[in-house]
Symmetry: none
Subunit: 241 residues, 2 copies
Amino acid sequence: MSLKSNLINIVIVDTIHPGNIGSVARAMKTMGLSKLSLVNPRVFPSDDAIALAGNATDVLDNAKIFDSIDEAIKDSTFVYATSSRNRSIQWPTINASEAAKEICNQAENDKEVSIIFGKEDRGLTNDELELANMLIEIPANPEYPVLNLAMSAQIIAYEILKASHGEEIKEWRDYPEVNSKQLQMLIDHFIETAVEIDVIDPDNPKKIISRIKRMFTRLQPDEMEASFLRGFLSVINKKLK
Amino acid sequence: MSLKSNLINIVIVDTIHPGNIGSVARAMKTMGLSKLSLVNPRVFPSDDAIALAGNATDVLDNAKIFDSIDEAIKDSTFVYATSSRNRSIQWPTINASEAAKEICNQAENDKEVSIIFGKEDRGLTNDELELANMLIEIPANPEYPVLNLAMSAQIIAYEILKASHGEEIKEWRDYPEVNSKQLQMLIDHFIETAVEIDVIDPDNPKKIISRIKRMFTRLQPDEMEASFLRGFLSVINKKLK
């Protein structure tokens, strides 16, 4: 399997210290990755970023800046979030080496993958996490699992490079997976319909909505499935008018 | 296999920037390592080291200082050197994940192991390398394999932690998956509803029904999700009566 680095999008969110952007760029390049998306970096471009990038200033030069995660991931079929901490919300979770195999395989099948890294001091919020199909957990010391941003990026990138030398898994789908935006539209449509027919408790909607999002992102529908489900919901909407 | 961290000795040589000593300490602690040996650090102790160690100042406090590598490794049965660059000298070489398995195995058998990391700007000299039984190579981009000191330590420590566990797979579900019978009932309920509202073409139902089955089996719903979906369908059935 080759490393299709143009289809592996590293997304770092709300980065406080520009030096960390440089360190992430270097970590990426040492492992053959090149596509960096910055969501609301506090300072960029930056001399600190250049200083820490070493010989990876080309990664910085080609980095794209976005003002929302949604924009940064909109062309991606699969979205992974990263965390080394325990979270209150449970989300489909995979370890770094298994994730890397999936990521390489998806890129090999010409699907863009995004991997989201949260802000230095707090990681990803639950809302940010819910944009992801899967959470990547980096195995770590349970008493101090606090890797810094560039270290996390280094380990994920390293596992991707290792996996890119590995074996391919055969593609079984006959339609492509929906992209992130289409998936969000399907989820919104389903939730609106569920609210309309009163299956979501309006006094305590939060937990069930989060479960619904988790269910659909885990399903990762293809275009045919999504189109069928949208049709199913539209007919219900019409009949209930 | 447990992680006998008192028998895994991380040796960093001629370190120029004390901040790097702190970053190595943090990288070690995030992966459960604790034994740090400093050979001729240019500045130590140091506020920069403490600043970058995060919550791993205990690793710094317990670090030992030596004026030669020989002294630092004298109790070790096995000695590994690290490099991510091509070297002019050929030395028995092993990749990071294989090395980590050996290291954990040796520590498990009560043998101390040392892992030597060279100076930031040049790595290990050939004389230093020759103190090692084996060279650990971190797989990297051949065009830019230049990991910094703390990144190299992070990857080796991560591989050691993984090797000490075997890899665990994390359970993320808070409800058990439905059994096969419950799944069939959910699928039947969905299909009946879809037929009722005419989203399945009665002239050619076969293909879409097969797709629906595949979609739900792939989803592998848990009991909470299945119960929610059944409730959703029941409300629709009732409203359409």
